[in-house]
Symmetry: C2
Subunit: 152 residues, 2 copies
DNA sequence: TCGATTTAATTAACATATTAACGATTAAGG
DNA sequence: CCTTAATCGTTAATATGTTAATTAAATCGA
């Protein structure tokens, strides 16, 4: 009755990722892109000029990882780093013409996979799944257990 | 109307993982364990003697990663590698007394987090979420797109 | 205005993921 | 039997995740 290992949230999520990500990766590989590199291009598609912090939040790629990913994207001339003038700590990441072109070419194919995955369940099922996972995410960490992190 | 980036399956799953895993990691860190190291101990808890292939399947840790993780567990005297006699290619991973003791101590606390996460939604919601994700996982890869991997 | 406190990006150190390839064994088939 | 194909664990090369610390720049308050 207790939570079986295989039915714990981490295992459920990992199983789903393991089953679905290869579909995306196969596509990305055709364009010499990694999943993370794609995510960055994808964000730059809608937001021309993004600071690293924003990019980290929007792509869910941790800031330290971001450094290397952007380095590699820069090496491929897909993005550029532009130091901000107002706040010289900040750095803006911008897609190059080549980067935007690549994004334009890959994007519809990614969307196709997105929709194909979504189509494996009913609209309502998907909606519930999304809502439930959101609810769980909110619940997490909100209740710091009894591990008394209290006085700071 | 098309699948928004933020609502794509990978992003949904990553958001959920990012929100929930810290709860577990905080616990593991107290015992100098990583998530992967824990998963291996957890499997050895119910199956005394497991081959690397099985371990990879049950923990969802890719075989090449498994090598390093087990190395570190061995260094800490938590598990041992035992070469099989019937099939000398195979290697059995076995938990040491120390490893079993540690698992016994950590296990209930992990279960507590498991249950706390599960309690953030109703039993039915959880059930639907689990079923929907399973359905999506099955749908993935089943339809190889038009990328004609056909004749092999 | 100066010093303590933040904040942005990065570096460092370590652990893991991904894909390909390799060596040792074993199973299959002719 | 003996060659060939398949399997298990592992190594290799590269990319990313995780946590802590560092550097430079901005901000805040005495």
């Amino acid at each position: 009755m207790s939570v079986n290992f295989d039915n714990s949230l981490p295992m459920i999520l990992h199983r789903t990722l393991d089953a679905t990500m290869p579909d995306y990766r196969e596509l990305f590989a055709r364009y010499n892109l990694t999943e993370q590199q794609w995510r960055i291009l994808r964000v730059l598609w809608s937001s021309k000029k993004v600071t690293s912090v924003d990019l980290s939040n929007r792509t869910l790629i941790p800031a330290p990882s971001l450094v290397g990913v952007i380095d590699r994207l820069e090496k491929k001339d897909l993005v550029t780093r532009v130091r901000s003038v107002e706040d010289r700590r900040a750095v803006f990441i911008v897609a190059t013409a080549k980067g935007r072109a690549l994004e334009a070419e890959v994007s519809p194919q990614v969307t196709e996979i997105d929709q194909q995955l979504r189509a494996s369940v009913t609209a309502e099922e998907w909606q519930v799944m999304e809502r439930v996972l959101g609810k769980i995410a909110l619940g997490a960490n909100a209740a710091p257990l009894k591990t008394a992190q209290g006085a700071k």
